[in-house]
Symmetry: C2
Subunit: 199 residues, 2 copies
């Protein structure tokens, strides 16, 4: 009984910490989001945050991974058009809208990660990151399904790379993900065909 | 007579220096392309290079600007499809192929510039550079002409940004500009319509 309650407490704490970090990152540049601040916002001790996530970097990474896992699950077994069952164009439009929203919500986090990568001595390329690889695989498969004649892998890199690129990245941090999602939709429906005709 | 010959010599030297720098940058990483090496390759004295271009950075900037001017001229008054007279889709396909080729030819130069910008204390954003602005204006106008219903300015940023983005940028440096041009063409013809139908 006692043990089960402890496990439930731990899971609740973990969620509270991740939500607090996400909320703080929405409002503040990442260098101002300290472990102390996250702990205070989540209503837990600083030691609890370190115990659960190891470090500030560990917390940031886990936040990004959790968002990515939710999206992956929705793609694999959620309802269409994000999940299976819709035509490839509509699945891709839905997926890129989710990715744009995720990037907007976690823009400060992405920017911090990006800056760390670009200025590090031995940068790990973005395109070898497991989340990027999984997104690239999904986008490539949908393009190839709709247009077997094109270079799906390269076009997938072109579409996903946009997220990391100025001035798109800074407009995403300012919350313009619906504008980006609409332009993704125009490009994707043009390439793959789809329900929305030309204007 | 004497003065005219001097001006002709100066123009020849200037061209020889730019060609030498371009040739060296094609074969070597930019940090290995010194003024001394460029001067030796061009068959002029080191002082002549400094006299004409002020500094190594000045030489690199002038090389990029010259390429951009040639392209701008071809767009403004050259034969179609790059120049006026072709449908917007075909003009845009031709323009992006030129831009991809230019980026591939000057990939080491672009990478050096990019790295300098990203690691500088007060980076000048890429999208405020005169060359970028001029390319963005042209791409935006062609998209708007073919598809008045889409967000032409944002899609132009999406298409042009790809050039600076890994893994596309590194494949360009390896000479894969025709592959990129083909994918640009697929995206553009999808968006704007055009002579090449779906496969």
């Amino acid at each position: 009984m006692e043990e089960r309650r402890e496990r439930a407490d731990a899971a609740r704490n973990r969620q509270a910490i991740l939500r607090a970090a996400e909320e703080l990152l929405r409002r503040h540049p990442p260098e101002q989001v300290s472990i102390e601040r996250v702990a205070a916002e989540a209503g837990v001790g600083k030691g609890t945050v370190f115990h659960r996530f190891g470090s500030r970097t560990g917390l940031m990474r886990e936040l990004m991974n959790e968002r990515a896992r939710e999206l992956e699950q929705a793609v694999a077994e959620g309802p269409p058009p994000l999940g299976p069952g819709a035509p490839p164009a509509e699945r891709l439009v839905a997926f890129l809208a989710e990715v744009a929203a995720l990037a907007a919500r976690n823009g400060n986090l992405l920017a911090a990660h990006e800056h760390a990568v670009l200025t590090s001595k031995s940068p790990e390329p973005r395109e070898s990151h497991p989340i990027y690889l999984s997104w690239h695989r999904h986008v490539t498969a949908l393009i190839a399904e709709g247009r077997p004649d094109v270079d799906a892998g390269l076009i997938a890199h072109m579409l996903l790379g946009v997220l990391h690129m100025e001035p798109v990245a800074s407009s995403l941090r300012a919350g313009a993900h619906e504008r980006l999602a609409a332009s993704y939709a125009d490009l994707v429906r043009g390439l793959l065909g789809g329900s929305a005709g030309r204007g």
